[in-house]
């Protein structure tokens, strides 16, 4: 029952943007890890190539089925990913003091990345099936809020505050998009504020410390504030045209922290200047606008909401990460999706992009 129209409708532009960003990412990682390679932390860019390879395969895989199947499977899929998430908390391996990886022998996955997508799908499913159109009341929001709260609490416990915050922001982007009435929004914010002290009490001492460091990085002048100072110098010193590929001095001297993850944008800005960094931003902007366009053209609410949710996720990652490395926001440990190094992130983003592709390809089809 394969339909030729699927090929005709294949979204080549979306694919092209993703490939461009992927190539930039790999070149940038090659440069960012140029010096530390000699010290043994090798082949990060090679691994990123692999992640993108696997990512594109998964993207294609995600286009092979009709996304309405996901509508029927939304809840089971969501619960499975939440169980994985819970498992990672209970028996995951600890890296950098936080349990966020689940090991499957040869490879480890970050279930929190999978939850991000399944949560978007499940929220899209819920809101697309509501009779009421917009202006939602508190009782309409009870179920989605519970759905958000469960993975959120688990991720806070890992603790991976960047991801938890991202989960919240993306979910609320969807809720605001579907148009909640302001009264219920206020009620919700009020309860959240009231329950905050209670959550604070049940947290462990080290978790409190981590949250304080997260909210107030300026209290840590030798860690986060140092990173921002360095990052600003790195970006600023790129000027219009940059210092050239592999010629970044800040990067070479290892002044910049986490050059291949959270601060990878700074490396690009130093070596390619305003031209390079603006080009990357434009690519992201184009990607997001293209997604919104797909949402506009998608044939049902469910598809549109999924696309909006994923686009929101990408948008916030880019906005927060770039603000962070340019010193507009505190350093909160959110990577630049697709551009920073990270297997779980690349693969889950590509899977999400596959979903968008899927929706884009089926925009002209009637539901059978």
């Amino acid at each position: 029952m394969f339909d030729r129209r699927l090929i005709n409708n294949f979204d080549w532009i979306l694919l092209a943007i993703l490939i461009l960003i992927g190539l930039l990412s790999i070149f940038n990682l090659y440069s960012a890890t140029y010096t530390i390679r000699s010290m043994g932390q090798s082949q990060i860019y090679v691994r990123q190539i692999c992640w993108f390879g696997i990512g594109f395969l998964i993207l294609l895989l995600m286009t092979t089925f009709d996304y309405h199947i996901l509508g029927r499977l939304a809840y089971p899929l969501f619960f499975i990913t939440v169980i994985f998430l819970f498992a990672s908390l209970k028996m995951g391996k600890v890296t950098h003091g936080s349990q966020r990886w689940l090991s499957f022998g040869y490879f480890s996955v970050q279930p929190s990345e999978m939850v991000k997508i399944s949560l978007v799908v499940v929220l899209a499913k819920y809101f697309s099936e509501l009779e009421r159109m917009g202006n939602y009341r508190v009782r309409d929001l009870l179920r989605p809020l519970t759905l958000i709260a469960v993975p959120f609490v688990i991720i806070v416990h890992q603790p991976d505050l960047g991801t938890a915050l991202m989960l919240l922001i993306v979910s609320f982007s969807i809720i605001i998009f579907v148009n909640v009435n302001w009264k219920s929004m206020l009620i919700f914010l009020f309860t959240a504020l009231l329950s905050a002290p209670f959550f604070w009490i049940i947290l462990e001492e080290y978790q409190k410390r981590r949250i304080i460091a997260f909210l107030r990085p300026d209290l840590d002048p030798l860690g986060a504030a140092y990173h921002v100072t360095q990052s600003k110098i790195t970006i600023g010193s790129g000027l219009l045209w940059g210092k050239g590929f592999l010629k970044g001095t800040q990067t070479r001297l290892n002044f910049l922290p986490q050059q291949h993850t959270d601060f990878s944008f700074s490396v690009l800005a130093e070596e390619w200047g305003f031209v390079g960094s603006a080009l990357l931003l434009l690519l992201y902007l184009f990607l997001i606008l293209w997604c919104l366009n797909i949402a506009k053209n998608s044939k049902d609410k469910f598809g549109a909401l999924i696309v909006v949710g994923i686009a929101a996720s990408i948008f916030w990652h880019v906005a927060i990460n770039v603000s962070m490395v340019t010193g507009l926001l505190p350093v909160v440990g959110i990577p630049l999706v697709l551009f920073s190094y990270g297997g779980s992130s690349v693969i889950s983003t590509m899977a999400a992009m596959g979903l968008i592709m899927n929706i884009s390809m089926r925009r002209f089809m009637f539901q059978e």
């Binding site: 970006i235 000027l239 219009l240 049902d300 598809g303 909006v308």
Partner: protein
């Protein structure tokens, strides 16, 4: 066929409108990002370019001040002294050979190593200082300082160094610092520490490292191309570590160590009612200051090749046969089990025959007719051979363990050894041969396999005189910062209460008072005029000398075969303030070697209390101490 069947027209319109709004929102936020990039890279770019080329922002650790250690009366025992280190920044050295030559002319340095170190650092970490010489003397410091302007790459760093004010005083208790090792780096206790830090390696320095260490601060500063610090951008002050107050009394500790001067042995004094250790001395000792300087290979080899193991704390890890001290345990067991009738007299003719072997008494010719009291006072072996034989080894072992011997006391210093109380099961397990009845006789007088540590003995005699409370000995009184907020406060910790009949304990206590105060007592050289001392001597044989050779003079026996001398004491016997255990290795008899030491220590200790006694406050202080108050003398 272009259909949007999923959307009805109203919804479509609403969604379309919102998506348009969303697009504007995205465009605006991206606009902000573009403006920010423009401002950083184009408007302020040149400034940042200069900073990236000429200036470096660097980080520097500020090490916290390690907490001091005090005795119970607030006398300072350990603090930190500045130590000056000569270093160079490899990235800023223009002419390495010239610099080394210049330095060599000023002070004595190892030019070859300095050159090597600087060269290798130049490749990896050119802006971190390389240390050329540690521990500059005042003279060397002055010579470098006057010439430092002609050598811009040279720096002098002052680092705090651990300093024990009284050198070897309480060295085993305090412990020493050493460079952190891999295992420690991974541990929670050391999460404030980095590679290269000096951390506690043993004793109190290790036990309370986390509290003593404090937390590291740092500075983020900007330097220009020539390495001059332009300004400090941020800084975080280091938080000093907490101070530790020990339970030991510095004067008593000194006295104990002086008594051990030239000997090999251990002395431990404890407050019998609270478990506070008042003095803990082990000889030979070492000087923790040698470690703080950075122990060189020669010094270390000298320490570990010393046949008397100066690093060992004999109070907790020296295991010795208790000798006649053990008769107290056998007496208590015999009374409890109804084997001893305190009034029954047994004849001691100087030896006892059992299963065809002769077991000698220490006193040639014997003690004559002895009851329990005399048997303890004169330490009659024959009496206890028979009590022990009647009790059997397993009953003896059961009592010894219940009374706290042959097991860890739980003193908070590491490396405590448990000693050994043998029984039938142990012998079979360890040696695969059954227990010989004759061995029970040897154990009854504290010989053969049985081993105890001085800390077990001091706890044992404390419990006997405080009414049977077996306490956990403790050495830390209080830990806290300058603001007087404590993080640790000593609380007496009772392990268990002896379940012995009071009248039996009284009988034994009376005998132990007589050991010191009656003319035939083996411990009479520990007698004091004004304070009633109670005690028990012990002489632990290293090897059993055959009967024929018993007349051999002590000085003719090779050192390593000489007996260990024991003495355990409490004073005042009625309401004890101090309990003592003394062990002198390979020195001879407890009564003649160890008891006089106890006398000297107790005499000085009570002399120090006397001024208060004269003011009528002595007994008041005494009362307080029995109510488990921490301080006797303030």
């Amino acid at each position: 066929m272009v259909g949007r069947s999923g959307f009805d027209s109203v919804e479509t319109e609403i969604y379309q409108k919102r998506l348009t709004r969303l697009t504007f929102f995205v465009l605006i936020l991206f606009g902000v990002l573009f403006v920010r990039l423009w401002s950083l890279q184009i408007i302020n770019g040149p400034k940042y370019r200069i900073q990236s080329e000429n200036n470096r922002i660097d980080l520097r650790d500020v090490l916290p001040y390690r907490g001091s250690i005090f005795d119970k009366n607030g006398q300072l025992l350990v603090d930190n002294r500045p130590s000056f280190i000569l270093g160079a920044i490899p990235g800023e050295v223009r002419n390495l050979d010239g610099l080394i030559k210049d330095l060599g002319r000023l002070i004595e340095i190892d030019s070859l190593t300095a050159k090597e170190k600087t060269k290798s650092a130049l490749r990896w970490n050119p802006f971190n200082p390389v240390y050329i010489k540690k521990d500059l003397t005042r003279d060397e410091l002055a010579r470098i300082e006057t010439n430092i302007f002609s050598m811009p790459s040279v720096i002098i760093e002052a680092k705090p160094r651990r300093h024990c004010i009284y050198n070897t005083l309480a060295a085993h208790l305090i412990g020493y610092l050493g460079e952190i090792d891999r295992e420690q780096l991974a541990g929670q206790e050391y999460k404030e520490n980095k590679l290269g830090d000096f951390v506690g390696k043993c004793g109190i320095e290790k036990k309370w490292h986390r509290h003593l260490n404090g937390s590291r601060g740092g500075q983020q500063y900007e330097v220009d191309a020539s390495g001059r610090i332009l300004r400090v951008l941020y800084q975080k002050a280091a938080e000093p570590g907490f101070n530790v107050f020990l339970t030991i009394d510095k004067d008593l500790q000194m006295l104990a160590e002086r008594s051990l001067n030239g000997k090999v042995g251990a002395i431990v004094a404890m407050n019998p009612s609270s478990g506070e250790i008042l003095a803990i001395a082990s000889a030979p000792a070492f000087n923790p200051n040698d470690f703080a300087k950075g122990m060189d290979k020669k010094g270390w080899e000298r320490l570990i090749s010393n046949p008397h193991f100066p690093l060992q704390n004999r109070v907790i890890s020296g295991q010795y046969p208790p000798g006649s001290l053990f008769k107290v345990v056998v007496a208590l067991a015999g009374l409890e089990e109804g084997i001893i009738d305190p009034d029954e007299e047994i004849f001691c003719g100087g030896s006892y025959s059992f299963q065809g072997r002769t077991y000698r008494d220490w006193k040639e010719g014997g003690h004559g007719y002895v009851d329990l009291h005399r048997a303890l006072v004169e330490s009659c072996d024959v009496y206890f051979y028979q009590v022990g034989q009647a009790l059997g080894i397993d009953t003896i072992a059961k009592y010894a363990k219940r009374l706290g011997l042959g097991c860890l006391t739980g003193l908070e210093l590491g490396d405590e050894k448990p000693g050994l109380i043998p029984d039938r099961a142990w012998k079979l397990r360890r040696w695969h041969v059954p227990w010989q009845e004759g061995e029970t006789l040897c154990v009854s007088v504290g010989q053969s396999f049985i081993l105890v540590t001085p800390i077990q003995i001091v706890r044992f005699i404390s419990a006997l005189f405080n009414g049977g409370d077996l306490l956990r000995p403790q050495v830390t009184k209080w830990i806290g910062g300058e603001d007087k907020n404590g993080v640790f406060q000593l609380k007496p910790d009772m392990v268990r209460r002896w379940s012995l009949r009071k009248e039996n304990m009284e009988l034994v206590k009376k005998a132990l008072i007589a050991v010191v105060n009656e003319p035939h007592g083996t411990g009479k050289s520990a007698r004091l005029d004004q304070i009633r001392v109670a005690g028990k001597t012990g002489t632990a044989q290293v090897i059993a000398l055959p009967a024929e050779e018993s007349s051999v003079e002590e000085r003719d026996v090779p050192y390593e075969f000489r007996d260990h001398a024991w003495f355990a004491a409490v004073a005042p016997a009625e309401n004890p303030l101090i309990a003592l255990a003394i062990l002198i290795e390979h020195s001879g008899q407890g009564g003649s070697i160890a008891a006089p030491i106890a006398r000297d220590i107790l005499e000085s200790y009570f002399d120090k209390l006397r001024p208060e006694q004269e003011k009528g406050r002595f007994w008041e202080a005494h009362e307080r101490s029995t109510k488990l108050e921490c301080s006797i003398v303030d």
